[in-house]
């Protein structure tokens, strides 16, 4: 079984976001970037499945600017066998990314495609579902447990009501929840080894897909700020304020 894992380069989750003064977006210059957190879970799960002898190859793919390659390199350092970097600049909507990934799937013919359930920059939560629609494959979103059987996966999904378990036939798409596993750190020797692993570079125009934006971002602004609150001295004062000032209890 061959697993393709899609990874995205985003602003690191610990960075405090700053909105550009001209309202065109958020500041990304000189800001720490890293792999979208649930994409790390996707890579980890694919590598674990391979280590358990249930997969033969793990391919990491990313779509984005030149530096997005770092994200693939990191995936190689934690166990992916091969990387693909589809070079594309500018804003890419999930629909465009899913069309690009569809082309990569046609080419690589994986049995499974894994990715994070959501990217923490645009918070869209669309790409996996869109890719499975384009391929007409089953989808298991928000996966917190994956059990690989012969040509089938049993997947436990995180839903609002609790947990749901479904069985999907391969080929299939899985989008991963943070709860799926604990991503490993890359060891220094593995980082060195990863430098020798191949990354195939594809320029997006070679794929012949329409990636023109359909959405126009008119403005990006800071959310309204909360009024500064107060510190109370003790519990009695807190309860009194909640009762008589805020009138919420």
């Amino acid at each position: 079984m061959k697993i393709l894992v899609a990874v995205k380069r985003v602003i690191d989750y610990n960075v405090q976001i700053r909105v550009k003064e001209d309202g065109t977006g958020v500041v990304t210059d000189n800001v720490k970037m890293s792999t979208n957190p649930p994409d790390d879970n996707a890579i980890e799960e694919a590598v674990k499945i391979k280590e358990a002898g249930k997969a033969t190859e793990v391919v990491a793919v990313t779509v984005g600017e030149e530096k997005a390659q770092e994200t693939v390199r990191k995936a190689l350092a934690v166990g992916a066998d091969k990387g693909i970097h589809v070079q594309a600049d500018g804003i890419l909507e999930p629909l465009a990314v899913s069309k690009i990934l569809q082309k990569i799937v046609d080419k690589e013919k994986p049995d499974l495609v894994f990715m994070g359930k959501q990217a923490i920059d645009d918070d869209c939560n669309q790409t996996g579902q869109m890719l499975s629609a384009l391929l007409n494959w089953p989808q298991a979103t928000f996966a917190s447990k994956i059990n690989v059987k012969d040509n089938k996966l049993e997947v436990t999904r995180e839903i609002d009501e609790g947990l749901e378990t479904i069985e999907i036939n391969v080929p299939a798409i899985v989008t991963c929840d943070l709860r799926l596993n604990e991503p490993r750190y890359a060891s220094l020797p593995n980082i060195m080894k990863a430098k020798k692993k191949p990354i195939e570079k594809i320029v997006v125009s070679e794929l012949g897909v329409d990636i023109s934006p359909r959405l126009e971002q008119l403005k990006v602004e800071e959310p309204p700020k909360r009024k500064a609150g107060i510190k109370v001295a003790n519990v009695a004062e807190l309860v009194q304020k909640l009762k008589n000032e805020a009138k919420v209890i």
């Binding site: 579902q129 979103t141 749901e164 990006v220 807190l238 209890i249």
Partner: protein, 317 residues
């Protein structure tokens, strides 16, 4: 052209957020139709027809709709889509799972998790865990939009009498099989809609200590929330998680106990009307969003809090 709302239900009755999504749909266009896809879901369809903002209900029943799988839902909605300008549902796990599958088939760039309808083609949505708001205009002919339910009031639930039209089922998608659903049952209000939420973080130190929170939540008629750190530490199950990748809550009162206030947690609760933080670290970021901050050891403060609540003659429910 009218707007099509996808109803979320459990075959017996509508899920509450369907009412919030109906409000958002009615802000886009007055002509709102709703589709309900299920099995033995006649009662829920009738309930839908009674929402005054809904002008027409389309109802389809088949065994393969019993468990709401996106792979079975999407073909029927795609077929209906030709008659509609917009397709709307909630941005909860139901809608997040389903809508992109529809949007991709329609070759439409979805607008996710909107918090405001500015005009029929322009919407406000949070990005970067709510640290920025983006105004987005869709140039697609058909628009697929998911709405953040807590940003829209629920519509009236009675007084309407829309017609219910039965439509034909589409074929079953055989590569996905539902096995089971483990719903966590609770007598407490649901986290997503509760008026008061009491949440615990890593500062709780153990799952056992959450009983201090349970006690207060019971007294206040509140739902119980948690930070990702508390969930990851195994103190409490994931369905309690509030944050960017958990639930977004907007209660009248949010009490954060032993929660430092990581960016991803704040994303899930900072729109709450009144926020209380109890934390022994006076520098914790949670205090920057709190209306009332108490710098104290929670193991001393919580028993006192309970004691003070017991002294009150009345507590709003």
């Amino acid at each position: 052209m009218a707007v099509l709302l996808i109803a979320e239900h459990n075959n017996k009755e509508l899920k509450p957020f369907t009412l919030n999504a109906a409000t958002a749909a009615s802000q886009i266009d007055a002509e709102v139709h709703a589709v309900i896809i299920g099995q033995n879901s006649t009662d829920a369809a009738k309930q839908l027809s009674e929402l005054p903002v809904i002008k027409k209900v389309l109802s389809v029943e088949a065994a393969h709709y019993e468990n709401f799988t996106a792979e079975n839902y999407s073909p029927i909605i795609i077929k209906l889509a030709k008659n509609y300008s917009h397709i709307i549902c909630s941005a909860n796990t139901f809608g997040k799972n389903l809508m992109p599958r529809i949007a991709a088939h329609l070759d439409t760039s979805q607008v996710s998790d909107i918090i405001k309808v500015i005009s029929p083609d322009t919407f406000l949505r949070p990005i970067y865990a709510g640290n920025a708001f983006a105004t987005i205009k869709s140039k697609d002919e058909k628009k697929c939009v998911t709405i953040r339910p807590t940003s829209f009031d629920p519509c009236e639930s009675t007084g309407g009498s829309a017609s219910i039209e039965k439509i034909d089922a589409s074929e079953e998608f055989s590569n996905t099989k539902f096995i089971k659903r483990e719903e966590i049952k609770s007598d407490r209000p649901e986290l997503g809609t509760a008026r008061i939420v009491v949440s615990g973080g890593r500062g709780m130190q153990s799952g056992d200590n959450f009983k201090l929170i349970t006690e207060i939540a019971d007294k206040l008629g509140a739902a119980i929330g948690a930070s990702r750190a508390a969930v990851d530490a195994g103190y409490i199950s994931n369905d309690h998680q509030v944050g960017q990748t958990g639930k977004v809550v907007v209660p009248d009162l949010y009490i954060a106990i032993g929660i430092s206030g990581a960016i991803q947690h704040l994303a899930g609760m900072k729109e709450s009307k009144v926020i209380v933080a109890i934390n022994k670290d006076g520098e914790a970021p949670i205090f920057s969003v709190a209306d009332y901050g108490l710098e104290a050891d929670l193991f001393e403060a919580l028993p006192q809090f309970m004691e003070e609540l017991n002294k009150l003659n009345t507590i709003q429910k």
